[in-house]
Subunit: 185 residues, 2 copies
DNA sequence: GGCCTGATGTGATACAGGTCACAATAAATA
DNA sequence: TATTTATTGTGACCTGTATCACATCAGGCC
């Protein structure tokens, strides 16, 4: 739970009492490797903060091909945000690459948390803003970069993930075939 | 200015007095076609709300090739968000495809506006959240779709822009060459 | 230990889309 | 009105990646 506090305090500071109140909105949960946190067609009523482990968020297209939107390891937030914010059915899948421990917060919980603590609303705003910028960067690398450049960029940006994620999945994140990535590596 | 109020009130409601206070944070500005609102290397101290007109936000790579991150017409917000949020030098360009009127707000202004009106912070949070989801969707269409599919999707999503933006620029947005787009149309 | 499944490498071949080149309008601007 | 400067189309050719097909090797599990 301390991870959450350290994480939040990178942006806003909290008193002891405030943090106790904040953390009451979260529930700790454990998932084994291969378990789903969200499945297409199901609900996505929770957002997850990863305490330990590694998950992948992905879309499976009509031909059964997966495209990975995000990996999330320690200190990352993840959910099917479209489904979460709009309280709609999930179109994405989220499952564990490793045994994973998360803190879970419901949509309503998050709304109440933000209403009660403007600081936390500020925190989520800053997070959302930097997430937006990160996605813009990724779009640019898809528009501008070659497969090799995107791979190099990924290694720079997420050195810790490169040797933790199988190449097949890295390929599904980068938008390259497994075989092509293998020829680059 | 009424456009701004209508736009905000889709998410939070404001009293007359509140709106008067809110709008004092904005300045109206006019730009002619081809004028730059932001240039690479310059500053991006302002965020713009488009009242009238059309702009493009783009990145120019080392070979001089442009990649369009965003078009923004009436009721859209736009800036180089990386530079804006981090108070850093711009890496993107923003210029006018048509004569354009905007409401401009500075970074500091926006921070004070959010601090003073939690409602407005909530507004910006919701906007950022849906922006994030929209970029995820675009990433998926870059990962999954063929050029023709992306074009079809764009027409569905932004029917009003298709005949307002030259095909050359649409191609730079979709990540296809001008020639290929022409053969699809 | 032995078996199965997932991860990775590599060759052969196919194709979507890029690049280059030229032409014809349409639209700004002097 | 005249003169550039954008915009769009289209042919010819090239190339980065996808696909398909095997082969190998490591790790988890019975």
């Amino acid at each position: 739970m301390d991870e959450l506090r350290r994480h939040i305090e990178k942006i806003v500071s909290l008193t002891e009492d405030e943090f106790i109140a904040v953390k009451s909105f979260f529930t700790e949960k454990q998932f084994k490797k291969h378990r789903f946190l969200i499945q297409e067609g199901g609900n996505a009523t929770n957002e997850f903060f990863i305490l330990k482990g590694l998950v992948k968020l992905y879309y499976t297209n009509a031909e059964g091909k997966d495209h990975i939107l995000q990996f999330a390891a320690e200190d990352w937030w993840v959910t099917d945000y479209n489904a979460f914010f709009n309280q709609a059915a999930a179109t994405l899948n989220l499952d564990c690459l490793e045994d994973t421990t998360v803190l879970s917060i419901s949509f309503d919980g998050r709304e109440r948390l933000c209403a009660e603590f403007p600081k936390m609303q500020y925190f989520f705003l800053k997070k959302s803003n930097s997430g937006y910028v990160a996605l813009q960067r990724r779009i640019l690398s898809l528009l501008d970069g070659t497969a090799a450049e995107r791979y190099a960029q990924f290694r720079l940006l997420y050195p810790g993930l490169v040797n933790r994620v199988p190449k097949t999945l890295l390929a599904a994140y980068l938008g390259v075939s497994r075989e092509t990535l293998s020829r680059l590596a």
